[in-house]
Each structure stands twice: as C-alpha cells, then as structure tokens.
Symmetry: C2
Subunit: 251 residues, 2 copies
C-alpha cells in the first residue's frame, strides 16, 4: 500500500486524487491546502487540513500548486527526508527544497476542470534522485497509466516546450480559424471533422508524411490569394511565417 | 437514380467513387482520366476512358483534377449545358467554363491515399447557379454525408483558408514538436494523448475557453525559459509570434 498525501489541491492533484483513490494499492492519507475553499462535497471522505504542522507521515507527497510557488512552498514543509514530488512540466526537480528527497510526477496532458480524466493512456514522466524513489514513483504511475517514462529535468523542459506547440499554439490556430469563419457567419463546427482527422492522421503517419497544402506544394497562386484574403487581418504575418517555415522544411 | 461521370480520377474523386458506388441511388456511369495509370484492379467493374470524345451523357460531371488545371480543362469538355462541378476548396465556381452549368461539390476533409474515407460526418459544401442544380447536388451530397451546406465561392475561400490553419499549419506544429523531442531521443508518441485531447476539447469548449498555457496566463518566466531553449532554433520567431498573438487575443 502506497501512502499518499496531496500538498495543494489544484486541478491536477484533484484529478490524481480521483483516480488514485480507486486503486487498492494506494491510501490517500490526507489532503493539505492552505485554504478550505477547494474542498467540495466530493472530498468529504478524506482527511483534510489547512495546517502544515498537521501533515501526516506518508510514502509520497505530491505538490500540486502553481509553478512559481513550488520552490518557496517546498522550503516551508516542516518534515525532512521524505519523498516530495511536484507535477509540473516546466519546473526542475532541483527547484524543490533539498530538505526532502525530491522527485517529479508529471502527467503529460491538458486538464479541464469540469471533466474527469482517464489516465490509462496519459504518459507520466517521472524523475527522482535515487533508484528506490524512482521505483516507487514507477509503481504509483503504473497504477494510473500504461505509459510511465523516466524523463530528466532537462528533457522534460523540451517535452513541455513541445507540448506548448501541440496544445496551446494548436488551440490558438483553432481560435483564428473560428474567427475567420465567424466573419462569414459560418459555423466553426464545419471544421470539426478536419480537426479530428488532422490529429488522427499522425497516429499512423509521421507529421512530414501527413503534411499537405499550398505551402508544401509551393502553390503560389493559392498562397497569394490567401494573403489577399488576410489583408488587414492581425494574422497575415503568422500565415506568412508558417508558410515559409513549411517551405523551409521541405525544400 | 443520379447518373455520375468522374472527370479526372485523383484522390478525392477516387474516394467519392468508392462511396457513391455503394448507393442504390447513384449510377457511376463512367470514369474519364487523361491516362490509364490511375486505373487499378479496384476499378475494373467501371467503364473507363481516356478520350474526351467518348464521355457519356450524365446528370452530374465531377471534375477532380489539380486546382490550376480546372479552368483550362473545363474549356476542353466537348458537350454543352450539362452540370459540371469541381471539388476544390479554393477555386471559384466561375473558373469553370460557362459552356456548361456550373457547380461546386467540396468535401471539407484531408484525404490520405491509402485509407478509405467515411463521408458520413464530413461537411460537403455545395454551390450552383440555379435552384434545380443546387437541389441535385444536395441530393447527391445527402447520400454521402449528414452535413451538406450551401456555401458561396466567396465564403468557401474563407473556409479553405481556415482549413489551412487547422490542418496544414497545425500539422506543421506537430512536425516542430516532433523535432524538439527527437533532439532528446524522446518518442513523438509521448505527445499523442495531448494532441488527441486538444482536438477533442473544442468539441465541447470554444477555442477561447480551451486556451491555456504560458502565453494566455502571461507567465513571463516560462516564456523566457522556452525562448532560451529555442536559442539557435529556426522556430524561435514562430514561438514569439504565436505567443504575442495569444496575448493580443486575451488582453
């Protein structure tokens, strides 16, 4: 039985708690949060505290707070030499105080507050300073997901950067296309099947193999027409830069 | 029974032929292509010709050739006053020769040569110059898809531009993220669940609601770190422009 305490109870820790509590091999001992506002009726079966001094003894402490606060918060933890992990993609393991044994438990996914997550297919990137801690994090991760991978802080930064491209930036392109359609009173739902197929395609093709479009085939006439349509739009420079970037990749 | 002849037999027309032949309400009379190379054993039950002069009399002629060739090809069609449509997102109806009645039958999807397409959920954008032709195209489209929409040439240009953003440009961002991971010998498959979830999310949330990340929350520290990681990369300017573009949208 792995004894877990959550330190901070934001979206990621709530999702982890929801899933881990279902396992027979995990005991969610306690939830700490600096205020009790996050504590809805869903969690009433759990031991909850707002006092750092009351935190119980556990095998793994999972810190789930905003990136910027991780370092300073970890310094305020009153106990020593236990395994404390954070769940952030972009924060180094070494940001955690060295008063405790340090680790990372980063689920590589975007979470929506209102929707429960099934972790089975979500990669969990783990990191620790010694083999026994790494083993324990691997055990915990394997209770949630079929894809637990050791990733160093240095590599995890790159994973997080890549995630910004395929999640935040891709979503922004969805946003732009929605604006382009709305101008003509066309429904964004028109693009849904194309969006789904674009994401599905790269499960079987590499992105290079899946690339199509006027930039890839150097179709100047269509590109010129698109630039004409975008005159006065805030997105014309983005169109140009993405087109050139595709052309560079395939020249 | 709607009698159809395909003029040109590229990827889109092959997919349309594969699906339309299954309908009891369509008779695929003939396939014309200027050479016979496209004609694999899959199509051996069909009447095939390489001679324009041998084209049969049909209700709808579907031109499926490269965008640039549509106008000049349509001038060479030897018959008059029949309904000739093209399947392109970016070519005006008026590009077709006015020797025949003109229309557009544009399935809004990206097609992969090796995979059969189910058109049921794929929007089909139709356009014609008179009501009876429009009705016929609507009938044909409805045999394939639950989503047949009349879209003018002017609006269709914008749809096609928006499609470039959510398909070609999104795929390019996948490509970039793959490169970022490969540098660290990390598998692109790590990002698959995030890519799928990003596309799924906007079925229930608007892109504005679904937007997250350092640009949206003005997290300068993470942005600075990402720019540091991208030093010397061809993608640093793209990261900056996309970040600023998101910030502009949410300020």
């Amino acid at each position: 039985m792995i004894k877990v305490v959550f330190l901070g109870f934001g979206n990621v820790n709530q999702q982890l708690c929801r899933s881990l509590q279902k396992s027979d091999h995990v005991d969610v001992l306690q939830i700490y949060n600096r205020n009790s506002q996050v504590f809805s009726s869903e969690w009433k079966g759990f031991d909850f505290t707002t006092q750092l001094s009351e935190i119980k003894s556990a095998d793994i402490y999972i810190v789930g707070i905003t990136d910027d606060a991780i370092a300073s918060f970890s310094e305020t933890i009153p106990f020593r030499d236990r395994l404390v992990v954070h769940t952030s993609g972009s924060v180094s393991l070494k940001a955690l105080s060295n008063h405790n044994k340090r680790g990372v438990f980063y689920p590589l996914q975007t979470f929506t507050k209102t929707q429960s997550v099934n972790f089975t297919n979500i990669p969990i990137c783990i990191e620790a300073e010694n083999a026994s801690d790494l083993k324990l994090l691997h055990q915990l991760g394997s209770l949630l997901s079929e894809n637990v991978t050791e990733v160093s802080s240095e590599a995890r930064e790159k994973v997080h950067l890549a995630a910004v491209f395929v999640n935040n930036f891709v979503n922004h392109l969805y946003h732009i296309s929605e604006e382009l359609l709305t101008e003509h009173e066309l429904d964004f739902k028109l693009l849904q099947p194309l969006i789904a197929e674009t994401a599905r395609k790269i499960k079987t093709l590499s992105p290079a193999e899946a690339q199509t479009g006027p930039a890839k085939r150097n179709d100047h006439k269509t590109i010129e027409n698109h630039l004409h349509l975008l005159e006065g739009s805030p997105y014309i420079e983005l169109y140009k830069m993405l087109t050139i970037s595709i052309q560079e990749q395939f020249k």
